[in-house]
Symmetry: C2
Subunit: 147 residues, 2 copies
DNA sequence: TTCAAAGTTGACAAAAATAGTCTGCTATGA
DNA sequence: TCATAGCAGACTATTTTTGTCAACTTTGAA
């Protein structure tokens, strides 16, 4: 069980936007260079993020993307839902009909527990949390270096 | 993010063995018919489970598979680790070297939090728990039917 | 006003992972 | 001794992932 690159790249790119929140828009090109991700591929991901209303695009020269809400109001789960699709450990979670076998309930309950646990974590961590973690880690690193 | 059929089929098959624990071995054929899973494919999965020591095989006529430990001592996480590989939300969790980019720490911490959460859930649910859930659900269903 | 930067869209495709099939074995209990 | 059932591994079809690309639209700035 692992995240695809869509989820990983997407979160990293959104984190970049969060670090930059309040300043000028960041272009796909800038982000793709910072994160070493294919420019074309990132474009696709931002298309999805834009349609989902998580980012706003600003066209024209010096354009780019900005978060459409403050980092404190965007969770990692919001991003992953868009790029990975909602977590669906097993298909029969939502679809009760085609699952009439005898073990149905027992495994279904299990998948739901796993899904809820992941959702609980991802939807409780915001981009602001990540930025804060990042900043405090930098401070610690500086102290360790004796700066 | 979803489980592959390996994990889903494997858990269901192991649940079947748990229901049957203490009785005669179940053959691949029996399980594959109960669960409507390809016999050949199930064989592959049981090969992995056997090598990992989760099941024992009994060869010859009337042979089959049995759990190698009581259901209370096998967690869903044990099964998923074998069939899906350990959870690796992102590759850089274990591998610190090739990840020197600036946002490294912030996203890495995130992947670790998600991974730990899934592991916590899957490794705390045993086959016995599933069997108990299953049995109590059956009782409730019977009551509802007025039986 | 014009042009270049930047976003938008959708088609295309290589590569990897997944899911499943099959064949020919070996072991063993009845 | 033979039918049953596991063992091993090659093989393949399909799907998903991970990109790539080209043509087009919008718009800010010179």
């Amino acid at each position: 069980m692992k995240l695809s690159t869509r989820g990983r790249y997407g979160v990293k790119a959104m984190f970049e936007l969060a670090l930059n929140y309040g300043s000028e828009p960041l272009s796909i090109k800038t982000i793709s260079e910072k994160q070493n991700i294919s420019e074309y591929y990132l474009e696709q991901l931002f298309g999805s993020l834009r349609k989902a209303g998580l980012v706003k695009s600003i066209r024209g020269a010096q354009g780019g993307y900005v978060l459409s809400r403050p980092p404190s109001e965007i969770t990692v789960g919001d991003i992953l839902d868009v790029l990975e699709g909602p977590i669906e450990i097993s298909e029969c979670i939502d679809d009760e009909d085609n699952c009439s076998r005898i073990e149905y309930c027992a495994t279904r309950l299990l998948w739901i527990k796993i899904r809820d646990s992941v959702n609980q974590v991802t939807h409780s961590i915001t981009l602001e949390d990540m930025v804060n973690d990042y900043k405090s880690m930098n401070i610690i690193t500086s102290i360790k270096r004796g700066e």
